[in-house]
């Protein structure tokens, strides 16, 4: 699996929600794209990630 351009080994499929938790990110501060498409917020716990997927996690901090 490639996450934000870095190759990572995925032992077993995990959900997008689990990926967000595993990385210590706050779900209300990220957008996650899977193979170029947004993962809808209400689908994060059911969308599973597999080795071979390309994931972009965009995180937002304060400032504007």
């Amino acid at each position: 699996m490639i996450v934000n351009g870095q190759r990572e080994t995925l032992e077993a499929p995990i959900s997008v929600t689990e990926l967000i938790e595993e990385r210590g990110l706050r779900p209300e501060r990220v957008a996650v794209e899977l193979n170029g498409d947004i993962v809808p917020r209400n689908k994060r716990s059911e969308v599973m990630l597999h080795d071979g997927d390309t994931v972009e996690i965009v995180t937002f901090v304060q400032g504007g």
Partner: protein, 237 residues
Amino acid sequence: MTFTPSATPEQTTARQQAFDSLPDPTTLVSREEIRAALLDRHTAATQDKLDAAHVAICGLGGLGSTIAVALTRIGVGHLHLIDFDRVDMTNLNRQQYFLKDLGQYKTEALRANLKQINPFTDITIDTVKVTDENVPTLFEHEDIICEAFDVPENKTMLVNAVLESLPDKKLVSASGMAGYRSSNLVHTKRVSRNFYFCGDGETAPKPGAGLMAPRVGVVACHEANMITRLILGEEDA
């Protein structure tokens, strides 16, 4: 430290009077003169595309107000300005407002200031909070949506809502711009087909290195230039 306003009633009245007494910009210049000046700088082929563009700017703080000024200066034809907030003294360290604007809605103050640059720009304002509920209808007329909020949860909501419900619109967002770290950490990235991200991606404000005009301006102009590129047919970051 928290800023406490100290304006006297006389100062507050003087601000309102100054806000209400700006010159009518259409008496200062003709549409033809502005058009001729823009053509001199940009050529007709480029200007025609800028004239026809519709851009929505969500959030009119350090990012959004600066983006709006840049796009107005190059003659982007149609701007949709969205913010629910009013101008505060602590905004003036980075946002494109003046003392006369204190206490006014940002939508109304920015529209008035932009009209002093080009009174013929078509500007629509919405003094509302952007929510999951209004995203699908708010951007009916725009091809390009610019995320320029300050609060991370609002940034995230807008980006997710646009990508989920309006996948054919171009979306330009930003995050990571506080303090005075190197400008060279700031970049523009094409995350996916219609989604662009500007900023250093990580720097939040902290004491001594808050949100300041220079670096917020760098990121704002990354967004403004990406929007300009999209209008002119360039899709790469």
